[in-house]
């Protein structure tokens, strides 16, 4: 959708001086229907916000809908034929239906909250959460959904403060009577946010579902409607816990409910990018909304409690051959916590081993995970592992590196015995058993 108001505000700054002058003199603003005569040909179309790298090119939308970029030569002339048409879409307020459960949809941005931006030629996360509900009109038939805009960012820009804010909002809504909370979120870091909420919401009375989409909602093939509907349906099951719900096949009729501490984005672009690692998804949902549970779920608490303090002096590092300890020395020594994604069962080179020992002795909490992701750490198998443990490095079994990072931030801020907390299961984030039905 063209946001004419915003476009006009930006003016003709992107053009060369000459072109800018020509457009200004003609009063040609983005959204105006113009006639451009250049190189002896006349072109008529609506002036588009310029996405061109060439300052002498203007982009117009022709009557047939095509955009074309035209180089404006020296002798060209521009005439404005019509002023921009400002479209104001009329929105009817949603009327809550009696007898339906109340859910809250909190928007944070991401692809699921994005639409094509004609200005940059790329996606911008800037859609009101209310509009997101329009993509799944069926939802209104089964729940009364109130929306809140929490943020409007791509998920790489989600911060610890965003997590804290979200946890507080969730607690407020659930304690205020909502039957569940859905958070729409960019998929890149949805797993981190899910893990953070899993630890912060120490007591939880109802479902908290994070949902994203791998295709933006402006596309007819967007996975947003399906993912959103599956999330709404799962919320109605009343299952407490923090979950991520996304399509789990390339078809749009099958969805997995992933545990917030176990979920990982395993493909850059596929709709079925999300997998539960070292665990089976908690449940499966089909298109009509039938839920099949596959793993245990916690009992609901009376109230929801958010413990949101976080220590941000934590790093997450992946070990690699050739990792030069001197480059990381300052980083690790200055950190209160360091999570290492070690090789294999949880190993690092001798040089890094020395550094980690030193850091642990210095008070840094060093946690070992595996960059294999699948399978547990096993630090009793080889000497390196044993020596690292002796030095105080804490193996956390099959916990995901990202989950360990988030947990360590939380533990450092809220626990008196951080090492013990890291070894203790708080929110299904690790386990002793992995059965053969766990996909890897």
């Amino acid at each position: 959708m063209i946001n004419i108001e915003r476009l006009q505000r930006d003016g003709n700054m992107r053009y060369s001086k000459e072109l800018s002058k020509m457009l200004d003199a003609a009063g040609a603003k983005d959204g105006c229907k113009i006639s451009l005569t250049t190189d002896g040909r006349e072109h008529i179309g609506v002036l588009m916000p310029n996405a061109s790298a060439d300052p002498d090119v203007i982009v117009i939308k022709l009557k047939n809908g095509y955009h074309v970029g035209l180089r404006v030569s020296a002798g060209a002339s521009v005439k404005v034929l019509e002023q921009p048409i400002v479209r104001t879409a009329e929105r009817k307020a949603r009327v809550p239906k009696k007898g339906l459960p109340d859910l809250v949809l909190i928007g944070t941005g991401g692809t699921i909250g994005s639409q094509a931006n004609t200005e940059t030629g790329a996606m911008a996360a800037g859609m009101a959460t209310e509009l997101l509900l329009d993509v799944a009109p069926e939802a209104a038939g089964i729940a009364n959904i109130r929306t809140r805009d929490a943020a409007s960012v791509f998920s790489e820009n989600m911060s610890v403060e965003h997590w804290q804010e979200l946890a507080k909002t969730v607690a407020e809504e659930l304690n205020g009577g909502a039957a569940g909370v859905i958070i729409s979120h960019g998929t890149d870091t949805i797993g981190y946010t899910a893990a953070a909420l899993s630890f912060m919401l120490t007591e939880l009375s109802a479902p908290v579902v994070l949902v994203g989409s791998q295709r933006s909602t402006d596309r007819p093939s967007s996975d947003a409607p399906g993912n959103l509907m599956a999330s709404v349906r799962f919320c109605l099951s009343g299952t407490p816990g923090v979950y991520v719900i996304m399509q789990d096949t390339m078809s749009d009729d099958s969805f997995a409910v992933h545990r917030g501490t176990r979920v990982r984005k395993m493909h850059t672009s596929r709709r079925d990018a999300f997998r539960s690692i070292n665990a089976v998804p908690v449940a499966h949902i089909d298109a009509p909304g039938n839920i099949t549970f596959k793993d245990e779920v916690p009992a609901p608490s009376k109230v929801t409690k958010a413990v949101t303090k976080m220590c941000q002096e934590v790093v997450l590092l992946q070990f690699y051959p050739g990792m030069e300890p001197s480059l990381f020395r300052d980083v690790i020594m200055r950190s209160k916590g360091a999570v290492i994604a070690g090789s294999g069962l949880g190993h690092v080179s001798e040089g890094m081993e020395t550094l980690l020992k030193e850091a642990a002795a210095n008070g840094t909490i060093v946690v070992m995970t595996s960059q294999c992701l699948n399978g547990p750490t096993g630090m009793n198998v080889y000497d390196t592992g044993r020596r690292l443990q002796e030095a105080g490095v804490i193996p956390v079994m099959d916990m995901l590196p990202e989950t360990a990072y988030v947990k360590l931030m939380w533990a450092l801020a809220n626990s008196k015995n951080v090492a013990e907390t890291m070894r203790t299961k708080l929110s299904f984030e690790m386990g002793e058993r992995r059965t053969v039905d766990v996909v890897w």
């Binding site: 090119v57 982009v59 809908g65 094509a116 295709r215 596309r219 007819p220």
Partner: protein, 619 residues
């Protein structure tokens, strides 16, 4: 067509390019098999202007599930809309730029890819990527200037391979094969001109030597309106020779609809929204359709069309609004409808008619439409009928129509508007640099008329042959087979006469792969058979026989000169008396039996020489 009929017509040509796919490095080849790997639905979304496109809404109302096959040899995750597209294929863009230059178009300085919303499932993303590359060009056809409004480079759609009640299965091999779409201005004024323009554009496309050949690689859309009507589009015609028929039939349909609108404007008409269940009237009806619907627990539903008597099917079949209603109804999945202008018939008797009229409270000025189906389906079909009937007073309705092999067409969906386009954000705009333009203009291929001239001077074809060669698209294969004057003449006969005859006989020479054509002429050059054998050989090969099998089946194994001489000597000997009487004048009459015996085994001229020699020997 009567001379008084005026119409406005423009065509669009879609030509597949012989490159990789447009946005990935898959080969643009079709696969023979595929396995369904996912099923999806599509929803119409608002385009840039914020409006929903009516064609997209109409498609999505069908609520179909789309299955996709993605053969790994010819499709990838990009085709499945599971990965973002790569950049535009450079070769494909070069061809589009070259074609634009050849038709004197303005090449767009910066090319912007758009998403054209198409939710019929033929693209898993729910849109087709398309960009305008050139505009405002022109060509000459028989001395008349035809404007080329636009040249676009876009993705082909996926192939429909199966269809049932609620789902369509597509194979993604064809998806994203580059297509050049060429739209002419509304400059065409006779049905034949539609074909001439298409032929001319086809020859220019082929002159780039980078376009795909064969069935389905070039498709035409025809846009038509007449004064007082609205534009309709016949989409995806593949048979060039049928273009004039499509135009002619569509103009007649427009005239008919305008006539109906005139008739209706003089009557008191109304179309009720309510649909009545009249199943009980047909309890004892012997109509097969009705009986089968009732046995499957279906219903008979009816709608009233007050004042419509005689326009559904009247004036000796010249008024056919009933067919229009039926086409709309069929889009809802029903087999058909019955309307009062065609009844009593099909086992529905006058008695039933009377009861229906009475039940619906109709007089003889009125009409009704029945549908016998499961209730939900019948209702949807009749709702479509009501919608169409309400449009009848307006004459021609803007719509897209499917071409049928008999030269007529049928309703497929409403004509899409400009609301269906918005920018493709995954493909950055492509600036066409001055250097690239210089390269394009500096390497323009020969235009068709230049090729014709060369065929005349280099291969000794006459002008008419050269023109036909280019027009029918054989110039390229001709040049590759015609290595010397003698094969040139054999090749010309093959492409211009044998192939034409084969087409007429119904053995399509298009089925013969280019590789085989080249191989046949290689065999000929090697003396494996004589050029006289070509015609029967190609007929055999077109049936799917291999060259070797065809050669042995037709008994064309080459013959040595000595063997041939022996055989001819035998023929001369048998007619010794005749030869002695006529002397050298017997050569002519004897050529008949000689050719009969040796056709294709040795060259005709050689036959003549040997026969002359044998006759001389005898006398």
């Amino acid at each position: 067509m009567s001379s008084g009929d005026r119409f406005i017509c423009g065509i669009e040509i879609h030509q597949q390019l012989n490159t990789k796919k447009l946005f990935c490095s898959c080969d643009s080849e079709l696969s023979d098999e595929g396995e369904e790997i996912c099923r999806r639905k599509l929803r119409p979304t608002a385009g840039e202007s914020g409006a929903l496109d009516r064609a997209a809404v109409a498609e999505s109302k069908k609520r179909l599930v789309y299955g996709y096959q993605a053969p790994p040899g010819s499709s990838c995750l990009i085709d499945l809309d599971e990965e973002p597209p790569n950049g535009v294929d450079r070769d494909a863009l070069d061809i589009a730029l070259t074609f634009s230059a050849m038709v004197n178009a303005k090449i767009i300085d910066e090319i912007h890819y758009m998403r054209k919303i198409v939710v019929d499932g033929s693209g898993p993303g729910g849109y087709q990527r398309t960009a305008m590359v050139g505009m405002d060009g022109h060509i000459e056809v028989n001395g008349k200037r035809i404007v080329i409004e636009s040249i676009c480079l876009e993705e082909d759609s996926a192939r429909k391979v199966a269809e049932d009640d609620g789902s369509i299965t597509y194979r993604l091999d064809r998806l994203s094969i580059p297509l050049i779409e060429i739209a002419t201005g509304p400059d065409i004024r006779t049905p034949e001109e539609a074909m001439e323009v298409a032929l001319r554009i086809g020859t220019i496309l082929r002159a780039t030597k980078r376009v795909k050949r064969g069935i389905g690689t070039i498709r035409e859309d025809i846009n038509i309106s007449i004064p007082g009507s609205r534009r309709t589009e016949i989409k995806g015609a593949q048979e060039l020779r049928l273009l004039p028929t499509y135009v002619e039939n569509e103009v007649q349909r427009h005239l008919m609809l305008i006539r109906i609108s005139d008739i209706l404007s003089k009557r008191e008409i109304s179309v009720d929204d309510d649909i009545t269940d009249i199943t009980d009237v047909f309890k004892d009806c012997q109509s097969k359709v009705i009986k089968s619907a009732l046995s499957e627990k279906g219903k008979i539903l009816a709608v009233r069309l007050r004042g419509f008597a005689g326009v559904l099917n009247g004036d000796d079949g010249k008024l056919r609004l009933g067919a229009e209603l039926a086409q709309r109804a069929r889009t809802k999945g029903v087999k058909g409808i019955f309307h009062s202008d065609e009844l009593p018939a099909y086992g529905i008797e006058q008695g039933h008619m009377d009861s229906v009229m009475k039940r619906l409270g109709l007089t003889e000025k009125d009409a009704f439409v029945l549908c016998a189906e499961k209730e939900k389906k019948a209702r949807a079909a009749l709702e479509a009928v009501i919608e169409r009937a309400k449009e009848a007073p307006n004459g021609v309705v803007e719509e897209t129509r499917d071409p049928l092999p008999d030269g007529t067409s049928r309703f497929s969906r409403p004509l899409p508007g400009a609301a269906r386009m918005y920018p493709e954000t995954d493909v950055p705009p492509i600036l066409i640099t001055k250097e690239r333009l210089t390269e394009v203009y500096g390497n323009l291929p020969e235009l068709p008329e230049q090729i014709e001239k060369r065929l005349v001077s280099a291969y000794g074809l006459n002008e008419q042959q050269a023109r036909q060669m280019v027009r029918e698209g054989y110039e390229d294969i001709f040049e590759r087979t015609a290595k010397d004057k003698e094969t040139a003449s054999a090749a010309a006969t093959t492409f211009l006469s044998t192939f034409t005859e084969m087409q007429r006989e119904g053995t399509d020479p298009e089925n013969i792969p280019e590789k085989m054509i080249l191989a046949v002429f290689e065999y000929l050059k090697d003396g494996k058979f004589a050029k006289e054998a070509l015609s029967s050989l190609f007929r055999e090969i077109a049936k799917g026989t291999t060259i070797d099998d065809a050669v042995s089946k037709l008994g064309l194994g080459a013959m040595s000169e000595a063997e041939a001489s022996d055989m001819i000597a035998g023929i001369v000997k048998e007619r010794e008396q005749f030869v002695r009487e006529k002397g050298m004048a017997s050569v002519g009459p004897l050529m008949g039996p000689v050719m009969e015996a040796l056709r294709g085994k040795i060259d005709g001229k050689r036959m003549n020489d040997l026969l002359t020699k044998e006759i001389k020997k005898l006398i």
